[in-house]
Symmetry: C2
């Protein structure tokens, strides 16, 4: 699925007829509904649309509609296959298999025509049951999901129909459909003993309230027999006269209106009742709030802000590329039924079960998977929390306990500091904030007290087509002049100033310790510092920092008796914490972000992509030597941390599903194509050995991005662009800002707005987030190259 | 559902045959499977069990099994209804409707008999399709869910059968079933053009791997015609000879073994890979870890620790009452399909969509609901986070910004303190920890620095049948001597020493401010201090604390120019934060816990029960006057807080479902019965007006518990019990501890162990958590009175 087309217009009431099973009477319900609408809503043009039809029975359906749906109903079929079998077979046999995208594109195009009328209604009939395959083998419910039309479910009145009707309803709900009404025929056989409609009425009244309709079963029409046809006509006439579906016709029209009203008023309600995260509400207007009706694949369906809700003939919804991956969480597409079902399975098997002193299968399976796939021999223990912020706090509690024990500090009185990089960010809770240096993010937080020392460091970016490493302003004497590289891969293979870094870092750390600072942990975001501004750190600098700390532990060891660890997997110097909440789990193209700097951390924090972009979960994975610092006869020496929903089964189960999916993509041809585009002729085998050129070992795999090198290079030449970089799924554009930089800058806001509004004639837009003068875009792990190309084009054009 | 019976024995291989629809051939698959098992596994006794059968067709089924399932197969039907219709109709017509509980109790009892054999296998056939109703109208999948047997799904080979098969599979998964295998008949009509088995094979190979079996369709047997019967016999003979279901027979036996092995090894794997929350791992053995196979209603299905996994004839699983409500999160039952479907719907419609600058329907609907139901005129803004800890940090950020602005403090240099009660606890992140006084929980946390002043306060408990309020040791001069009350309601109606409290509180606060302390917020857990030890604070003390702060703001107002707020909903003195993470949303029997102390807080934090015990979500709801403290032209003055999954749609949707459900229970007869048991003759009308007797306004509603007053009173007389109390769903037993008290006490551990092991002859147990010498038990919001009675009995007996 590339771009989901819109499915909502102000003047077009559309509904989709799904059947609980094949043969439940969808066509009769459709015909009666169209005929009723013609009577009850004479000002509406009535359209019957059957996107896919198979076999002579289909012809019969068409004839049925033509004859019985009323003269005012215009009917249309988009694909008519000749054999009376499932569309996926019939289409294949006819040698004409429309893709899901082209099929719903055609449906949307039809709607677009209807919507030009003053008032129109479209009744769209599906083929078979809810999960019966369409021509391209996707199920009906999956096929039409991007449109997410309101549903009329025709339940099954026959033997066994209670079960099929309920299951069909569940399959619709799993895919995010709203079922507006349920219709069923009364089964009069054997005195109506089956009673499907009675049982289902009890159930559905809880779900669709009064919108459960029971119809008398029509006589079976036998085509050539005119007498039979007359009986059918009588049935329809009576049903229309008795307004059997009158309330349904009214309901559709009213629901359409109220859906639009509700969508339109959502920003008003939100502006009143919601305190938005990271948002200055002063001067914020409802126009600044994006209304998201639903999401599918890489796209939101957003309410077009500029459209008048009542009179426009444009669609009300507009697909917007989720360019921030919903705050960096998305990797496998919104509304993915695989994850819905995984979440539902865990909720159905466990709900949430308490984790202290207990264990359940998904928590262990996920822990085992994280340990195995990290390929980090140090890691041995997984601790669960709910988000990156709580996870880094746990990491710091772990690290500080270990260092305080080894260096014999007093937890109640000694101020123990973390070492980090300037511009790093680890979360919004106070402890996580304290790990970062004073900045805009924390300056007005009363309880913030930065506890650390933060290194300035050289940064990587592309300028005018060249990859460069540049020292921070005024630090050329420490780090040397800017360097230029032919490829990004070369930067990871080690630059030539590792020794300069080593001397500088050792000097700084030695001086800190000599000044009496108690240094208790190193915390890093490997390669990319995310929230702090999407800064690309020289991997060699980060690698050298870890090397110095581990290889020269005497810097920290002020108590000679504490000794050096004998186990090569034990932490040395300082516990090294890798905050991979943003950078890990393939965001940068690799499972582990620290592997890109050739470091095996003592503690790793993962979140965001972990759960496939569905719900919060975080893991803090630690080495045995960290874990051992908490072992004691005193039970209060334990890590006394644990949120109520720790290791919730739903999160663990979805995470396992997501990680397996991403592992599969890693081995896919699609990703290999990206890798080759970035490093033609280079294979993983070529990059596994340590580089002899530098202090820094080579990264264990190839450096690549889903964004094309060409595109990145073109961007870097734009006059409004200061610099640019791409890695994995992330693209970062730093704009020139004459008014000063940083989080409070507005430089990127113009570009952001331009992309969101879309260009003239474009039916989709790009939603992005900015950090001051930085605009970033993120793909999912399976974004279509066609979509990426279109975005590249739009971005380049916007910068012209 | 009362107690889910176990469904797993070491010697009994059991599987349940579900059909994608009625008439798909479940009986033929069952017969062939039994017959195959007889051949391939001669050492196993083979049982065919049809719990419910209807109509003459059922007789035919029975005869079919008797004739074709092989001589070694013993078959049994538990309920045989006469008419050939859905069991829910047939049972009613026969005037014999077994409850779901009695029916699966009988199935489990059968199993228990089979399990006495050395090796046995049970093939349990359901009736109709997956969601076809059973005798008591629950669907098949819901009815048998407590047993959660491995499933063999018979898919549908007929027209439309692809859709019904896939939907049936989804309905099973939503309810937490593991589907081991899928069987389908090949449909040879019209040259096999339907191809259901081909399509489904592609799908199911991803789900059940090789365990997708295609069978030739047997000839239809016509009973009286011996020739037909012979043809059928030939079909079976050939199918058995060709070992058509041989791999399935082997699979069942192997899966059974591996399920048991996996269950048994889970603790070993967990002990190796999991860092458990709040757990001292030193000396912890795998025996201390509870293995939870699944959960249903108020019960876990736990692996019986004492049972040998291979040889016992006892069931391997034992239902254990989830007495800590899984760390206080549960209220509406584990494995509730309503929540599974709600979660799946939101995941299907949105996944997670970013919330900064955007809005979606469930987030607004939940916010509106929380604001409306709180009945607190101050509250106007909902801020979302992920758990109680992050939610209280946000609350403190809000409160401190407001007070720092009004009192003109400098956020970077002034140390601003929170006011609270001793023993309070607000979460495990550093900022939340800092809100509590130094204690066992935080003494070894390097970055903890308590920032507050914490009041000691009188406590409520029942001793020897009398409700008492007792001052802390040595504080009789401040708070007066212990007082005794006839009912708990009277304590909430206001004790007679409000004025004493007022003078004391004013003195302490005045002195603190005079000493230069900057007091910035009050944070309270209303009525019950949870994690700090389940302490019941005198509601009048808490109420008076708020009253003094609000009515005498001059205590804090050291800058005369800052002025008093004119709006009666604006905060006065100090922002009052109510941490209702544990106590709110009906845990204490009422939506709002602060309403029990007659206080409208400025900020309220909710979590835990919020999402019906499925997954993490937290709301921090604030007043407009707090919100306004963040309004500024400078965008960095915003509340710069927001987790990636802020306001995730899945959590908001499940929360709305859960809150509606609990609102319904509040109005139910069951709860009214509890209320009347606690206060006979008292109605809500009687308690709405403020009490003239005391400073404290009456609580706005009745004080009650799901635990009976009688039971609480009996407990209070036990010699090993120090004191006891019950409120809402919570029961707290404080045990006498001669070795000193507090979190590190082991006094309650003995009782805990006793309850978990269960008594001789009991087939279930009670899982509980202790806090030092306190053991607490929590019901869900809809626990059965029968279960509560049984637990009461068990607890009393354990204390004898």
């Amino acid at each position: 699925m590339l771009r989901p087309p819109p499915g909502l217009w102000p003047n077009l009431v559309a509904a989709q007829i799904f059947g609980a099973h094949t043969g439940v009477g969808k066509t009769i319900v459709s015909a009666l509904l169209c005929r009723t609408l013609s009577e009850t809503h004479p000002s509406y043009a009535v359209h019957y649309l059957k996107p896919v039809s198979t076999g002579p029975e289909a012809e019969a359906d068409d004839r049925h509609i033509c004859r019985f749906a009323g003269k005012r109903t215009q009917s249309k079929c988009l694909f008519q296959f000749s054999l009376p079998v499932s569309p996926h077979v019939a289409a294949r046999l006819d040698g004409n298999v429309p893709s899901a995208e082209s099929l719903i594109g055609l449906v949307s195009a039809e709607f677009s025509k209807y919507a030009k009328e003053k008032n129109a209604v479209a009744v769209v009939e599906t083929a078979g049951g809810v999960l019966s395959p369409g021509p391209s083998a996707e199920s009906q419910a999956d096929l039409y999901r991007p449109l997410r039309l309101p549903v009329i479910l025709v339940a099954d009145h026959r033997l066994g129909g209670i079960g099929t009707s309920l299951s069909a309803y569940e399959s619709l709900r799993i895919r995010g459909y709203d079922v507006d009404a349920v219709v069923i025929f009364k089964n009069e056989e054997n005195g109506g003993i089956l009673g499907n409609h009675e049982y289902l009425s009890d159930f559905f009244r809880k779900e669709v309230k009064d919108n459960f309709f029971v119809l008398n079963q029509p006589p079976a029409p036998v085509l050539p027999v005119e007498e039979d046809q007359k009986n059918v006509e009588t049935y329809y006439e009576r049903a229309v006269r008795d307004k059997k579906l009158g309330p349904l016709a009214t309901l559709l029209v009213e629901n359409h209106k109220s859906r639009i009203e509700k969508l339109g008023s959502l920003v008003v309600a939100a502006d009143k009742a919601i305190w938005h995260p990271f948002t200055q509400h002063q001067g914020r207007s409802t126009k600044d709030i994006l209304t998201i009706d639903s999401a599918y694949g890489d796209f939101f369906q957003t309410l077009r802000p500029e459209t008048s809700l009542e009179t426009s003939t444009n669609p009300l919804l507009q697909p917007a590329f989720d360019g921030s991956a919903s705050w960096w969480t998305q990797g496998l597409g919104h509304g993915n039924p695989k994850f819905s079902l995984a979440a539902a399975y865990a909720a159905g098997r466990y709900g949430h079960v308490m984790f202290a002193g207990a264990v359940h299968e998904p928590a262990v399976a996920l822990a085992d998977m994280l340990l195995a796939e990290s390929k980090n021999p140090r890691l041995s223990r997984v601790f669960y929390t709910d988000n990156g912020s709580t996870g880094t706090e746990v990491a710091m509690k772990m690290a500080l306990r270990a260092s305080a024990a080894r260096y014999r500090w007093d937890s109640r009185s000694d101020d123990i500091l973390a070492i980090g990089l300037k511009g790093s960010y680890h979360g919004d809770t106070i402890g996580a904030m304290d790990m970062s240096e004073p900045s805009t993010f924390n300056e007005k937080v009363e309880w913030y007290r930065g506890r650390g020392f933060w290194f300035d460091f050289p940064q990587v970016q592309m300028r005018n087509g060249a990859w460069t490493i540049e020292p921070p302003t005024g630090m050329e004497s420490e780090f040397g002049p800017p360097q230029t590289f032919g490829t990004l891969q070369e930067i990871f293979d080690g630059s030539r100033i590792g020794e300069k870094y080593r001397l500088y870092i050792r000097d700084v750390l030695t001086k800190l310790v000599r000044d009496g600072k108690k240094l208790g942990a190193l915390i890093l975001e490997p390669v990319i510092l995310g929230a702090g501004g999407m800064v690309f750190a020289d991997p060699l600098f980060q690698r050298t920092l870890v090397d110095v700390i581990r290889k020269e532990p005497e810097i920290f060891n002020t108590y000679p008796s504490s000794g050096a660890p004998s186990d090569s997997n034990a932490w040395a110097g300082l516990p090294v914490v890798s905050d991979e909440v943003f950078t890990g789990l393939y965001r940068l193209g690799h499972w582990s972000a620290s592997s890109l700097i050739g470091v095996d951390p003592d503690i790793v924090v993962n979140a965001k992509l972990l759960t496939g972009g569905v719900l919060p979960l975080c893991t803090t994975t630690a080495s045995e030597s960290i874990f051992e610092a908490f072992l004691d006869d005193d039970k209060s020496s334990a890590l006394l941390h644990g949120h109520s929903y720790t290791a919730h089964a739903v999160g663990c189960t979805v995470a396992i599903t997501a990680l397996k999916e991403m592992k599969g993509l890693e081995a896919s041809e699609g990703w290999e194509a990206y890798r080759l585009e970035w490093n033609p002729g280079l294979s993983d085998k070529d990059v596994v050995s340590p580089s002899p050129r530098a202090v820094c070992a080579k990264a264990s795999s190839r450096i690549w991005s889903m964004w094309s090198q060409d595109f990145v290079s073109q961007l870097s030449y734009k006059t409004s662009v200061d610099s640019v970089w791409a890695l994995g799924s992330v693209l970062v554009i730093k704009l020139r800002d004459v008014h000063g930089q940083g989080y409070t800058s507005n430089a990127a806001a113009g570009l952001q707005k331009h992309l969101l509004n879309g260009q003239a004639g474009e039916s989709w837009s790009i939603h992005s987030r900015v950090l001051g003068n930085v605009l970033y875009l993120m793909t999912s792990m399976q974004s279509s190259p066609i979509v990426l190309k279109a975005i590249s084009f739009a971005v380049l054009e916007a910068l012209d």
